[in-house]
Amino acid sequence: MDFDLSEEQRLLRESLTRLLADRYGFEARKGYAREPEGWSRAMWAAYAELGLLGLPFAEAEGGYGGGAVETMLVAEALGEALTLEPWLATVVLGGGFLRHGARAERRAALVPAIARGSLLLAFASTEAQSRWDLHDVATTAKRDGDGWVLEGRKLVVLHGDVADRLVVTARSGGGRRDRAGIGVFLVDAKAPGLTRRGHRTNDGRRAAEVTLAGVRVAAEDVLGDPADGLPLIERVVDEAIAALAAEAVGVMVAAQKLTLDYLKMRKQFGVPIGSFQVLQHKAADVMMAIEQSRSMAMYAAMSLEEPDPLERGRAMSAVKAQIGRAAKFVAEETVQMHGGIGITMEYAVAHCMARLGAIEAMFGNAEFHLRRLAETGGLIPA
């Protein structure tokens, strides 16, 4: 049992933290948010330089060979600075599908582009009826010679407005909610028949509605088994949940720091409001929620190595349930401790709340995952 970081890991975290401290203050962030894409291409280049964009890919393929712990460290730091760039969409989600689903030649062609920041990806999964069920897929994939033709409509594709390629789930067989018969396809965003409508998200980022009308996909762009892609999807989503958990810890830490500063600085009735016992106890409860979440983010990183997908899924449901509950609690209480200023756009803590709300809405909220965990028997055998 060992919670220490390696020298490389410590270095990675420190250099990233320094970069963000220098260039991602709250005022700088406001500027990035006003850019047309809603985030900073300059920062993206800086991430590339630091190795964040090639992080999880094998060194032989142009990556840096980072594992789950590295992803955790990076995600937490990106969360704490409330960064806006499509790192989760491109590197964790898109990159995850390439790592686990693409053939070696395809990876060799694409990974270097990701690593140097010239290729953006997005994951198009949610549909109007699917809610968070990854296996509820109405979009169809029909064989067409060597390749496939996709038809359907995907919603809230995060950063789908700017992605160069989209990872699209589509049904190659079976009924709408069958676990079998789902394929995963890498689709060029400029492919004929593909249209996008970009829109803002409630956490100040951007997403897109993606409509696929007879979009052709070549055989080389099939990721994994086109008739049985769900295990691949679940694996990548589990990795995304682990990254989101770490990001959530970072955001919660940011909200906590803002709140502690505020409690010490802000006076009422002649004393700092942090001297009121009720607020002290709320702050202690926030601290406990964060420490428990940090433990679960570590558990998530470790559980990605679990070979049994059912076991891994249980662990990830436990993680997302904990993170979701803690995120809601921390968001609500840190805003409450700020009073009115806490819900204004001008103040960072409101943006923490918005991001925590968004994390809760991605890949299943706490209720969804508690249900899944309960249905699969919980963590402790009888």
């Binding site: 809610r131 409508r197 409450q336 009073g339 009115g340 819900i343 756009m345 409101a350 809405a361 991605m362």
Partner: protein
Amino acid sequence: MDLRFTEEERAFRRMVRDFIDRTLPDETRERMASGRTPTKAQWGWWHGKLHEQGWSVPDWAQEHGGPGWTPVQRYIFREELQQAPAPQPQQFGTMMVGPVIIAFGSEAQKSRFLPGIRSGKDWWCQGFSEPGAGSDLASLKTSARRVGEHYIVNGQKTWTTLAHWADWIFTLVRTDPNAKRKQEGIGFLLIDMKSPGITVRPIVTIDGEHEINEVFFDDVKVPVENMVGDETRGWDCAKFLLSNERTGQARVGMSKERIRRLKRIAAEAPSGGRPLIEDIRFRERLAAVEVELKALEITTMRVVAAEQKALGERKPDPASSLLKVKGSEILQSISALMVEAAGPYGLAAPMAAAPEGANEPEIVPDWAAMAQPIWMNWRKLSIYGGTNEIQRNIMAKAFLGL
């Protein structure tokens, strides 16, 4: 003991409901149902309709143009507006400054200001809070220095809801900086928003809406006849005003309307291949809120009935803090269930706020896009008007003797 409304009260409710159904424009109703504040035009038009009906100042005595309703009738009226949902009469005039002018104002002030409040011609806003004061209202710093027949006002107010629509602002200003207690030496001053030296700066909230503002006063000249009551006793007006509305804070009608809406939404929203409403767990969570709300409704009626009995008396009631705390917690719970119902679709921001504009078809239903903004914005319910922490202090100290 009988919890039921009398036949007369039920008839009154039918009359109010009929009027609303007949009169309220669909767009206003829909805008409110979506969780948004009505536009100024919608609200003003509706206030005018209520005024025509003689209903725009439900709490005022008949001699001042009120309808002469009992506390129960007033409760029913407000509940029906909330349930429609329809805008309430413009609150800063009718519920806040109006009663203060009636109780503390001169005859000249009454005849000058009350008609515009009743008709809705004059929009008012409230200048109490200041940066750095928060729930410690009496530590305010905005000063009013008397120079001849004017006060010269300098300072800053904040959290000023709808200041950008307002014709007038009622303020608490420090008239005597040397007063012994901070509650002394405060005046209750009415200020024309068109006065030179007033600047309104919008504060945008995390839901992207502009409803609150900062208001800056830079050597603003205000005629002395705009001071309500003694220039050093404004704190009495403030206390009177703050203790005025007791049962409205529970917002029972509004919660009922939100729950109805949520049930209709859950009948459509997908979950596990079925409508969300078929998920027993979701229904249980909703039922838990309904139970709290039913209890709050009866607690509210107990307070209304006590007011009915003690007509004219005006004393603080432990219940008002309870109604505020429970009312806000219930609405916040409902907002969280709305987020739950929205699921991943709640990630999308409302179209109106998107640069693409609102002409294209919706990507996700408007209610889903509004769920997270409302969840965030409604944190204000446990913050403004005395935070829920302050309310618990009041309950413990004033009513439990701790």
